[in-house]
């Protein structure tokens, strides 16, 4: 597969086409191809946060400054964001697209098992809509989640399984 045809390139193109123009977060191996592109292209202006809840905070600041933020992180870090999402993003109605990798979706290292098994429940408890990213439909899914983000002014998420973004 050529670099141009990789799914992570198409995924970023779809995000940009949907209007996302601010990118930040914390790395995960499942998202490494996307993040490598975000880091290497200056126009993305990637903000390397040191913690996922801090990335949510900066995404809120970016939206307040007129941008449309997308935040990338692992599900372990997503659970760190509970208070940032509930007491900042949802409370103030600040939208963002969350791109959350899904470790512990099936057999994985022991530290990912419980978080992986409960990740979708946490989205539900928070009241943040999410979709599991489908390799053949992500352009449509990005548009669907973006319409939620825009219409309701809340975060919405794409949950990314290993191997989806190459």
């Amino acid at each position: 597969m050529t670099e141009e045809a990789s799914t992570s390139g198409l995924f970023l193109d779809s995000l940009e086409a949907a209007g996302y123009d601010w990118f930040g977060g914390v790395p995960c191996s499942i998202l490494k191809h996307v993040i490598r592109r975000l880091e290497s292209e200056p126009r993305y202006d990637w903000l390397a946060a040191v913690r996922e809840d801090a990335a949510i905070g900066s995404a809120v600041g970016a939206w307040l400054g007129g941008r449309k933020p997308a935040v990338l992180m692992q599900n372990s870090g997503f659970t760190v964001c509970y208070n940032a999402l509930s007491a900042l993003s949802l409370l103030y109605r600040v939208p963002a697209l969350l791109v959350v990798s899904w470790r512990g979706d099936g057999p994985d290292a022991p530290e990912h098992i419980h978080t992986g098994a409960t990740t979708e429940t946490v989205f539900g408890t928070l009241g943040i809509p999410h979709l599991v990213l489908a390799p053949d439909r992500f352009d449509e899914q990005i548009r669907e989640m973006t319409s939620v983000v825009d219409r309701r002014r809340i975060p919405a998420a794409l949950l990314v399984r290993k191997g989806t973004l190459t």
Binding site: L47, G57, S58, G61, G65
Partner: protein
């Protein structure tokens, strides 16, 4: 120095068109007491994240002066963002820390800022400037020209514990605070 006196001094020294973010707890409440306006984001929850919001805002709006009013408890809760701010290096970000060495909203319990000088941490991280003031005269000197030099800059103001008697809570809805702030920051309509 008293916290409210410092908040008031900062509020009147804000440059034209500055965008200000204040941390949760007594600092947002006292900042609100000095005036309400669309260019002020009063954070009422998510302790620690005012500096992160300021960083995102400063990167999104490099044409505007961004001011964060923070407290020692807030900074200590999100110390890593001092490193993020220094690494990103937004020249338009000015970070005030009002340090009373206590969590006032929860009953005045001690923080650890009496043993960990926050301005030294910021300086080590790579803030262009990070200075501490302990008295009114030093504050006056530090505020004069503070916004004329590029950031990221920190001014840590050591104050005595205690807040304005009877200070109110921020009553405006968070939803409205965010919408009008975005409109003020972008010169657009509220979403």
């Amino acid at each position: 120095m008293k916290c409210f006196d410092v908040v008031r001094r900062i509020a009147v020294s804000l440059p034209d068109r500055a965008l200000a973010v204040s941390c949760n707890g007594m600092i947002s409440r006292e900042f609100h007491e000095t005036g309400d306006g669309p260019d002020r984001f009063f954070m009422i929850g998510s302790m620690g994240l005012a500096s992160s919001i300021g960083l995102g805002l400063a990167t999104a709006r490099p044409d505007r002066t961004v001011v964060v009013l923070d407290g020692d408890g807030n900074v200590l809760m999100n110390l890593g963002t001092l490193a993020s701010i220094a690494a990103a290096g937004p020249t338009n970000l000015y970070h005030f820390v009002i340090d009373n060495r206590a969590y006032m909203s929860t009953g005045g319990q001690r923080t650890i800022s009496d043993r960990v000088p926050i301005e030294a941490v910021a300086r080590s991280c790579g803030y262009r400037r990070a200075v501490r003031v302990d008295a009114e005269r030093e504050l006056t000197d530090a505020l004069g020209g503070f916004f004329d030099e590029p950031g990221p800059a920190m001014l840590l103001c050591a104050v005595e514990p205690g807040n304005l008697a009877g200070v109110g809570r921020v009553k405006r809805s968070p939803d409205e605070i965010a919408a009008r702030f975005r409109a003020a920051a972008t010169g657009g309509e509220a979403p």
